[in-house]
Symmetry: C2
Subunit: 229 residues, 2 copies
C-alpha cells in the first residue's frame, strides 16, 4: 500500500496575496486540488493524508468533497517546520491507514508532478529505501564555511537540486522520526537528508523543470499559462 502525504501546512506567502500559495485559485480551482487530483487518479496511490493548518482545514475538506478526492484517509496538523509537518503526516498515516509500505511526500504547491516521477519514486522506495527526483544545478556553486572566502570547489556535474515528491520505506522512515531528537527534526533541510543520515539508501530519479514549486508571482503566471494552454 502506498500513501501520499500532501504538505499544505504553509500559512505564509511571499507573493503579497491574501492566502498561502497552495490555496490560490487558478481557473476556478485551488492549486492544492490540481495536486490532489494527480494522486487521486494515479493507479498506484492507495491513500492520501493531508497536512494542513487548523485555519485552512475546513476549506481543504470542503474542496476534497467538492472535487471528489476519495482517497483521503486523514489529516494531520501543520508542524513548526516542514519536517515536523512530515512527522505529523507519518503519525497520521500510522493511525489512519492500514498496511502502508511506502509513503510519498509531496508539496501541495507543486501541482505539475508527472505520473512517471511518482512511479519512479515508488519503485525506488521498494528497490532501495527511498527516492527523490532531482534536476541538475545551473549555477556555479561554491562552498564557504564563513561566507567570506571560498573553502572548496564543487563539481557541478556531481550536484543535484532536490525536488518533491520524496518516497520512503514507511516503517524505516517513521522509526527514524520516533528515535531522533526534536532538534534534529527541526534542523533537517530536506526530507531525504534525515533518511540518508540514518543509513537509508536514497535513489535519485529524474525530476523535471515543470515540477517546480509555486513560490513567486512568476511561478504562478507560469502555472496559469500551462493550465490555460
Amino acid at each position: 500500500m502506498n500513501t501520499a502525504i500532501i504538505l499544505a501546512g504553509g500559512v505564509g506567502s511571499r507573493m503579497g496575496v491574501d492566502r498561502p500559495k497552495q490555496y490560490l485559485v487558478v481557473k476556478d480551482k485551488p492549486i492544492i486540488v490540481y495536486c490532489l487530483d494527480i494522486f487521486e487518479k494515479h493507479k498506484n496511490i492507495d491513500n492520501i493524508i493531508i497536512v494542513v493548518s487548523d485555519e485552512w482545514k475546513d476549506y481543504v475538506q470542503e474542496n476534497v468533497e467538492k472535487y471528489g478526492i476519495t482517497k483521503v484517509k486523514g489529516y494531520a496538523p501543520a508542524g513548526r517546520t516542514r519536517q515536523h509537518s512530515i512527522y505529523n503526516g507519518l503519525l497520521s498515516t500510522e493511525k489512519n491507514t492500514e498496511g502502508t509500505d511506502v509513503v510519498i511526500i509531496h508539496d501541495a504547491a507543486r501541482p505539475l508532478v508527472s505520473d512517471k516521477i511518482i512511479d519512479d519514486c515508488l519503485t525506488g522506495a521498494i528497490e532501495d529505501d527511498g527516492a527523490m527526483p532531482v534536476i541538475s544545478v545551473k549555477d556555479t556553486i561554491y562552498q564557504s564555511k564563513d561566507g567570506k572566502s571560498i573553502d572548496n570547489l564543487l563539481k557541478r556535474s556531481e550536484l543535484f537540486a532536490g525536488q518533491a515528491p520524496e518516497s520512503f520505506d514507511f516503517k524505516k522512515y517513521l522509526d527514524i522520526h520516533n528515535s531522533v531528537s526534536d532538534d534534529e527534526i527541526a534542523t533537517t533541510a530536506g526530507s531525504s537528508e534525515i533518511a540518508y543520515r540514518h543509513g537509508m539508501k536514497i535513489r535519485l530519479v529524474e525530476g523535471s523543470e515543470r515540477n517546480f514549486k509555486i513560490t513567486t508571482i512568476e511561478d504562478l503566471e507560469t502555472f496559469e499559462t500551462i493550465v490555460n494552454d
Copy 2:
C-alpha cells in the same frame, strides 16, 4: 587602473529569438548598452574591453559610438568556452591598456549590476586576490558522483551561488592562464574556480537577486518591467 572585461561572445539564445540575448533591444536600447553604461559611468573603472564574436563586432562598435561609451580600449574575439573568452579578454587588456592592476569580468547579459557590487569586487581584488558576488542557494543540494544515489549531504548555509562580475589581480590571473593547459581552461566552470585552484584568495561579496543573468523569456520580461518602471 581597473579594466572591465565585458563578455558578449555568446551567439546562441535559449529564447527562440533571432539574436543572442545581450543584443535584444529593450526600450530602444540593446541590453549590452545597459551593461556598458554602468561601467562607463562608474568612477572607479578606467578601461573597458569587449569580448565579442566576429559577426557581431560591427554592431557592438556602432552602439559603442552611438551611446558614447568612451572607455572602450579594445575588443577581443570570442573563445570556444566562456573561460577561453576571458583569456582572450585578458590578452586584449595586456595589449590595449596600460597599467591595469585589476580586471573585473562581467556578463553583457547581466545589465542590472549595482555600483556597490562593482566597488566591493574592486576592493576585494586589491585586499585579497579577487572577489565574486554570491547569493544564497535556495534549493536543497545533494552530492552524487554517479547521479544515482546520494553520496554526501551539503549544508545549505555553506553553499553560495556565484554571480558576476568577478574581479582579479590582473597579473596573477593572467599568469595562471598563460601557464595552464588548454584543457584546464576548457573545463573551468567558473572564473573564480581556476583562480582558487591556483592559490589565489577569492573573497565572497554580497550579490543581489537583481543582478540576474538574462537567460529565459521570463528573465527578459522581468528586465523589461524594471526598465519601464
